[in-house]
Subunit: 538 residues, 2 copies
Amino acid sequence: MTRLHSDVSACGAEPATEAVGSTPAQTDRPRTNPACPLPGPLTLRARRLGLHSHSEPIVILRTDSAICRSEGLAPHSRVELHAGGRSVVATLFQVDDVLDRDQVGLSESAWRLLGLVEGATVRVKQAPPIASIASIRRRIYGHRLKLDDMTAIVRDVVDGRYADLHLAAFLTATAAQPMDEEESWALTKAMVASGERLDWPFAIVVDKHCVGGLPGNRTTPIIVAIVAAGGLTMPKTSSRAITSPAGTADVMAVLAPVDLPIGAMRRVVEQVGGCIVWGGAIDLSPADDIFIGVERALDIDTEGQLVASVLSKKIAAGATHVVLDIPVGPTAKVRSAAAAADLARRLTTIAGRFDMRAICIQSDGTQPVGRALGPALEAADVLAVLNNDPTAPQDLRARACTLAAILLEAGGAALPGDGALLAEQLLASGAAARKFDEICEAQGGRRDLPVSGYRHSVTTPVGGMVTAIDNRRIARLAKLAGAPDAPAAGLLLHAQTGDSLCGGDPLFTLHAESPGELAYALDYAVANPDIIALEDRG
Amino acid sequence: MTRLHSDVSACGAEPATEAVGSTPAQTDRPRTNPACPLPGPLTLRARRLGLHSHSEPIVILRTDSAICRSEGLAPHSRVELHAGGRSVVATLFQVDDVLDRDQVGLSESAWRLLGLVEGATVRVKQAPPIASIASIRRRIYGHRLKLDDMTAIVRDVVDGRYADLHLAAFLTATAAQPMDEEESWALTKAMVASGERLDWPFAIVVDKHCVGGLPGNRTTPIIVAIVAAGGLTMPKTSSRAITSPAGTADVMAVLAPVDLPIGAMRRVVEQVGGCIVWGGAIDLSPADDIFIGVERALDIDTEGQLVASVLSKKIAAGATHVVLDIPVGPTAKVRSAAAAADLARRLTTIAGRFDMRAICIQSDGTQPVGRALGPALEAADVLAVLNNDPTAPQDLRARACTLAAILLEAGGAALPGDGALLAEQLLASGAAARKFDEICEAQGGRRDLPVSGYRHSVTTPVGGMVTAIDNRRIARLAKLAGAPDAPAAGLLLHAQTGDSLCGGDPLFTLHAESPGELAYALDYAVANPDIIALEDRG
């Protein structure tokens, strides 16, 4: 092996002087003598387009601009932008007019990442090849990723250097051939390292997570209220929905502000012992929400991603003891007890490698919990439980108490075996409800629940016993009605498995914030009459 | 099971009348009584934005437009557009101004698919879930795809209903877990069915294909010229580059028009016995170029996709006998003789299921063929061989003759064993060169070769024997210089494996059409001094 000699660094790109061959391309002299030194990236004037593009940064240039010619840029080229010491990689679209030739149009995401003002000078050039994408390519063909690979991937994701199709390739590859334990650990570690990490002045910090797939399972606000009322510290960060009609952050957001910066979250927890905030706003494991956006578009979840998503948030939040609820059912995210046991083993093992104790429990995942799907409707269920409302959904209440009991014992607030009684007392006495109010006030003040403007009740034409509710399709129905982006949208169930219904009895009520979404959900309900399965009587 | 009753079809969406519970969301009456009947999709005025977005159709709406509110649309929503009996599914971006509230901005791809005129009425609504994407999701998790699944996927791809990230997920899933024979067959059949299919008035129609991965291997124009000069019919459709610096269509395009519509191609073949045209222009297997665009962005190839891509084009082109060249080498697309044998078996078997005879041969894939990488530079190599230029690359000449000989024998133009001699005679006599001129004229006339404006020669600082040339990185270097989009760009090799070089001898010359691309390629060359490996003498 030897090193090439090239004079590029010493003012290269003189006209070629080597012997040339006999074909036209070889005999003609170059048309242009490029100036010395080689041109750097060209500068353009920034134009804010007010363009909303999900998370992928978009840049728009004139097709006939000098920069597109000199850099050989084409639609879908990956372009690197520099301004004021910051840089971002964006996907290029081109326009025939709209912009001036010396303007560069930027999407809101690119604008924010660069921190621009209108007319600011932006340097634009071809993005260099992203080295971590070669790792993804190797992963597609079966090579395992090491910590270094994962670290580079996660850093590039957080820095906005990936197009959506690169994210889709990474997520699909790790869904098709699941991550092994080392990869899960490496991704978790890389995700923790990519964001903020909280450090608390408490020996014990508890946390919980439910491995989704169960519509309406909104135990978190109740558990935080009980556990904090019991004297433990529970700084809860939650996600927005991935493929469900509402995530805990979506539900909490209709009750109180959840987009707290890290300092504000810390003050809330030190003041009242707990919080329920959106993890994305405090930059814990910031890659997570970017992955989630693409997982949502593809409607896939992967175990490795799930483990890293759950644990990286807990580790970064400084938890010492976590309870992880894994609902199991034929239409839940985890379909069998064996799969749940595998997942529990993976979660517990990897948590242990980060000195965090994880307690996994399997729960009933055969039907929705509570009666509501959608942010505001689920929030109403939460309030009903906290307020000891006799019409509150008892399954939601019982689940929350079970998980709170485990944390009370794990955290030393209750002796082993006494957690369930303490949880029940804290809830029944109103201590949990008062604590929840304190938390809402500390986070910025209680909000009024939004109310849906468009509703439609779906009834059963014939009677029978409810034999099954399809979690996935009932969730899809709530999503079609607008949840979670429309907070008042979703659906309210009027039947549970085992109920006996008469012809004309209501099955569920759809709630929407727009007539289009209501119609869309109704179309789906009519096309899927067996989402709630009834055993015919005749 | 029972069917749900819903009165949506009979003027539904009256205000809800069912018993309501005790929480605010349940007790408040809906704010608005939606009109009856339910609103259909809203109509907007089309605005052509001159927006170039690769192949993915893009639609842009005002964030505050009625349609976004009523349909609950957000950035990255999938939107269905209807106009004049046509429809398309597009990805939504939103803007805060630029457009009027009743305007819908369309990318060039969406504009073309709908065949619009400025100001035309377009109906817009949420795209219904795309059923075939559920098949892709199942495929990610290991379920095999049947003919029906593949047919639906390919139809939706051709109809522009997929976002890039869906295409990326499909291609990644079938790369991570390769297609089995049934899937390859099904994808091939679905791709043939999705486009035009040629039917010739000849009993024997020959064709050839080289399974890429070998830079500069531009035998096709030479083979078509020889075989057509020998009296056989060879209607050759070629692809543009996937991950290489040039595809045959890119090379031929610098010599003559290749974007011939189907009728023109037919006339060329009937007139002169052969053609070399771009397959995409005549709508044979139209899904192929869409897949290729995303494969290029991800820089991946998959065997199943490769088999379907190769065979669907040949079958749709009406070939009866095809020779398939599989170069094998450590940095070629196919790395081992065993892998090549597997691929050959797959290609031959599936071709047989379509009544097409495929003859596969393995060839040397250890280094580039010829001396050029990039459309115009490779075209110059082709002309040198056809014109019996003594400086023509002899490896390219020999490969073309070997493959032409197989086709001459398979097609009955030569007796078994006599093909090589006939091929040599047709080339040496100038008959092939004259036939090539006829083909170029019939396709629309010979073009002058474009010439690069920016060049740089890279030399070796020390002497030694060339022990290896890395096909992948030398191809990447040519691509960084601008090939294939910049037709004059690429590189010219001055050394082959086995050559002995002195310090200061040229290794290769980079050709570019812009200074930015030249600098970019030089950066890569300097960072990768071992692309051409030399054994040191001292």
